[in-house]
Symmetry: C2
Subunit: 237 residues, 2 copies
């Protein structure tokens, strides 16, 4: 059964990388000596090696080793044999492009369905939805498809940002963009604020962290879900 | 020779649609009784008819008639025979998808190269660059390609937004996203603030409006270009 932590962000303002999640990750990955890291989203274009080193430093604090998927001959084998898997944030287009290029999108979905514990942050969370179509990222590379892992019965908008009512900027607000998505698509969207995450155990989906999340269902007024809310009802939509 | 106005936004805060541009549009389209409007970007998902009506109301103030491309049997004929053309803003993915679906991307580029006067705002400006890869929009639909009209020797980022140094939000700033683009692509990017536009006459490209624009060239520090700057030097890069 699925065993996932899907977080809006890796890092909170003024904190170190993964700091707020580490106590939860120590439990989540308690049976793992080593986790497999997927660095493909390359935030700011950093190399796979640099990115994996940042993750290594964070996981060392909870005595878990980290190995980057780029260090393996066969990325499929790496995924299937991993004790736990973490996909970090960065650019979702770059991440999805690379997952398809290495032909491991399906493989990763199947492995996570079987129960390998997983952490996603930001772009690594986006890919857990049905599609990557509510990413905030720039389309800096053309992926062969926008379809992603489909582990959730909805899509995510990580780093969800409330509208600034005092702004004089005329670009679309985050909410306007998501409502626009629903003019063309019916998949529900969960706007996950920084500090929130989803805890998924099998079909049980629970909102964690101190904040509410904003749920967008096509043709309905957006609503706020409180922390500890159960999102299983979205399976039946 | 090309004759284009390429604007960051259709509308300034507190103004009506196209208000700040109308005096310039009266000159730009002075030989046009009717212009062809391309409403494909559908801001907020509005219909082609609704969008064309908004544009009709604005152009009526300068005594120019507006006809939507959806009103024509053959969109290629509509483009080739237009006295002037305007592509409005909205979602760039939806716009590019529809231009390809109707098989008119190449046709539109060729017509504008020959000198039909053109106005683009926001998404309608984005498509004038080499690719749409520095749009701010959500990928709510999957276009067959990110390549666009290629009328400019660079890409645009409309609605360019300076970083808020006080923000505690951890999502990428606009500048960070553009620098990330340059980790994977070499095309120069011009960040065009709301109120700025480019005036293109043949190969002459001039920055207009009261504001500076931010130019990003791969492996160089971003620089501010003042209003009335000449951007022709980008052709030689």
């Amino acid at each position: 059964m699925k065993n996932l932590i899907i977080a809006s962000t890796s890092t909170l303002h003024g904190e170190t990388y993964l700091e707020y999640l580490l106590p939860h990750l120590a439990l989540h990955f308690k049976n793992c000596k080593t986790i497999l890291f997927i660095p493909y989203a390359r935030p700011g274009g950093i190399s796979h090696e640099e990115y994996t080193h940042i993750v290594h430093l964070a996981f060392a604090k909870i005595n878990i080793k980290v190995k980057g998927i780029h260090e393996f001959e066969d990325p499929k084998d790496a995924i299937e044999n991993a004790e736990g898997i973490f996909t970090g944030g960065g650019n979702t287009f770059v991440l999805v492009y690379q997952l398809y290029r290495n032909n491991i999108m399906k493989n990763l979905a199947e492995t996570l369905e079987k129960g390998t514990p997983y952490l996603g942050t930001s772009a690594g969370s986006n890919i857990c939805g049905q599609t990557m179509q509510t990413t905030n990222d720039m389309p800096i590379i053309y992926p062969p498809s926008f379809e992603t892992l489909g582990l959730l019965p909805f899509n995510l908008n990580p780093h969800y940002l409330d509208s600034d009512l005092d702004s004089k900027h005329m670009g679309e607000t985050r909410e306007a963009r998501i409502l626009e998505f629903h003019q063309f698509n019916s998949t529900p969207i969960l706007g996950l604020r920084e500090g929130s995450w989803l805890d998924i155990k099998g079909e049980q989906i629970t909102l964690k962290g101190g904040l509410s999340a904003r749920l967008f269902i096509q043709n309905q007024t957006p609503k706020e879900l409180q922390s500890e809310s159960d999102l299983n009802f979205l399976v039946r939509l």
